[in-house]
Symmetry: none
Subunit: 213 residues, 4 copies
DNA sequence: CATGAATGAGGATTCATTCAT
DNA sequence: GATGAATGAATCCTCATTCAT
């Protein structure tokens, strides 16, 4: 996306630089087939590049995979980080977060595919990376603090804070993970109106679930 | 079919029949490495069986995979089906379902691993099977009816019923899918006390989230 | 054909004895697929016999092949040997031979299939066997003598005797070898009337070809 | 297609290009052992090429076989096609055809070997191809016309024209198919003088066999 | 940068043959 | 005789990676 740097006027194929085309093809290949099921030849032919060039640019497929992950997850993660900077009310913060990640999930469906496979992978670097990033971001901590304060003030019921966070995240990301199944069971899809409905429902259920009576 | 032949003292390895040992080894291999990353040699050596026996019993690795899926998902699916037969109050039904699937997820962690990878697979037979089974089970329909009736009676707020179901499922299964990440971020684990806490929190948030004010 | 000797009342399959059923299945398998392309499993299942029984009866596939050959070629070869005993005129002898081998080729099409493959095999035992048998039978010698005598008597043109024999055999057996091609080119088949026509044409061309003018 | 790249001095073995060396080794292997009995490893080592290169150039052994056939049969078939263009007298035409196919059979003995095996194969593509080509060539038709005209003119006896053609072909190609057997029975070989004798004998027998008396 | 060719190790599958019962 | 299971040695084919140019 933002890698048109070298602009070296490539001789033969496509309009983007070879390196960038490789990355894009690799994103597609890896998200569809997983790391074990992906094939260098396919990435090469899909990006209109000689196979050897992949090694010229990335030295190994494992490294290419890492680059792909970096490219794919850097945008959403920075978006997420930003999304928690300005956050007045808790409800506003929730909506902000829901907006943010819905946006990149819809923009880059590959993210979910790769996340699914990585979640199946013990000691997945990516999962560790995202996890670490999330924790360091302070988002869960900040969220916990607010919720706790709300409970103390009597605005919220005395819920288990950690569980509440887990529920919130599960409702939002968990839905995307499970969406192929919901599509079968409930005939849903990623239509814009449905997504809006979903976000509203999450916020609604959560806020009412924790609100004091 | 006849692999439960108890302890017929086979020639060399293990106590169970060769076919069954292959299936168990395959469950482990496939759940850890996915279909593309699995190796016949590993399954053979792990089950103490000559590689050719795998083909003798299953003709192809693809078929072995199918058998594994069948074996792995049949138990939880029948458990689920049963769990929705006797259900008085909605809260009781929810708790029942939470109990049921927590149980088999903890009993067979491989189920989640394979489910994750299958969710990344478009047109996954397993996802279709589970989805179809769920829909046919009438569980979502029954659940929707109750919720609707509750709304009409004024017991529940006028929530979007379909979204409520999605939220509930996401909170329960979605949590298991995301648990490796939660483990990193929130230092959680599958400890029994945590699981109990989790189930309680889901029921609590959901019931309060839909309860009329 | 004449192997119902042991008559051991076999337990399960077919009416003929197991050994004989194996041989018949092997004839079919070997003639269709050649030695290299034949499969023990197929012979076993086609004859309704456990694979191990084939080794019990024949110890190896190579030996089974030899037995098949023996079974398959013994009948035609003895028939041929007999056919040259009573032979008055040369024309009568020719007709006799044409009749004889047409008969068994039509009766046992497998013979031609196996002969074709064996002819492609340098040092083929079968080819050697048939060749040796033919030479020893004295048929070519006797035939040559007659032809020579006919030439001396002025009944025949001074043809090259050895070549004449080759021509005669080529016209008769060679036709069967090439018949799949003739079927394509000339829309022929093994219909009885065609076979009669063929035999008549061979005798006619040959007799007129060597007759003195 | 581009395998005639003359002497580009490739890395390790032989003088011809790798692709061409594979084809030559495959011709030898397939003709000696048949499709089912051929081994990729043998073709690889015989052509001094890494086994994987065979798949690099030909994708599969089946396809390699097809290419071999194409390569092997294209020359004789075009030769045959040409041989029937200028043909004044019938005798001249016969001699021409005998010359042509003797030539390529002697030049490429592999052709006969492969033809033998293909003739044993029902629905053999090669047999169909050759058959089709022959029919389309018009050779049999033209030949039949001449023979018929000769009969009408009283130059030839009223022979069965179709059978005469079959006889002629059987005498020429059929001889080559059966030659391993003739070698045993009559101690013949492919010596030049013998071949000349053979061709002369065929023409002699045929022409005299059909000539009017 | 770019390409076609090459390689070696790995991995799936097949198959004749044998064994225990 | 008969069977199902087992085995080891092929054998085919794939794939990441490298090389020469």
């Amino acid at each position: 996306m933002a890698e048109l740097s070298k602009g070296s006027m490539p001789g033969k194929t496509g309009q983007a630089g070879a390196r960038e085309r490789i990355v894009q093809a690799a994103i597609s290949e890896f998200s569809q087939n997983g790391q074990a099921g992906s094939r260098v030849d396919r990435i090469a032919s899909e990006s209109g590049v000689n196979k050897a060039m992949i090694y010229y640019y990335f030295s190994s497929t494992e490294n290419l995979y890492r680059q792909v992950i970096k490219e794919l997850f850097s945008a959403p993660l920075t978006a997420l980080r930003r999304s928690l900077e300005g956050h007045e009310s808790m409800e506003a913060a929730i909506k902000q977060i829901l907006d943010t990640h819905s946006e990149f999930v819809l923009d880059r469906p590959e993210v979910i595919k790769i996340l699914l496979r990585e979640l199946a992978n013990p000691n997945s670097e990516i999962v560790e990376m995202i996890g670490g990033m999330l924790r360091e971001s302070g988002l869960p901590g900040e969220f916990a603090r607010r919720l706790t304060k709300g409970v103390e003030r009597g605005e919220h019921r005395p819920v288990n804070v950690r569980q509440a966070i887990i529920s919130l995240v599960s409702m939002s990301i968990g839905y995307y993970l499970l969406s192929p199944m919901f599509a079968k069971v409930l005939q849903t899809g990623h239509l814009p109106t449905f997504i809006e409905e979903r976000k509203a429902a999450i916020a609604d259920l959560f806020m009412n679930g924790v609100k004091a009576r």
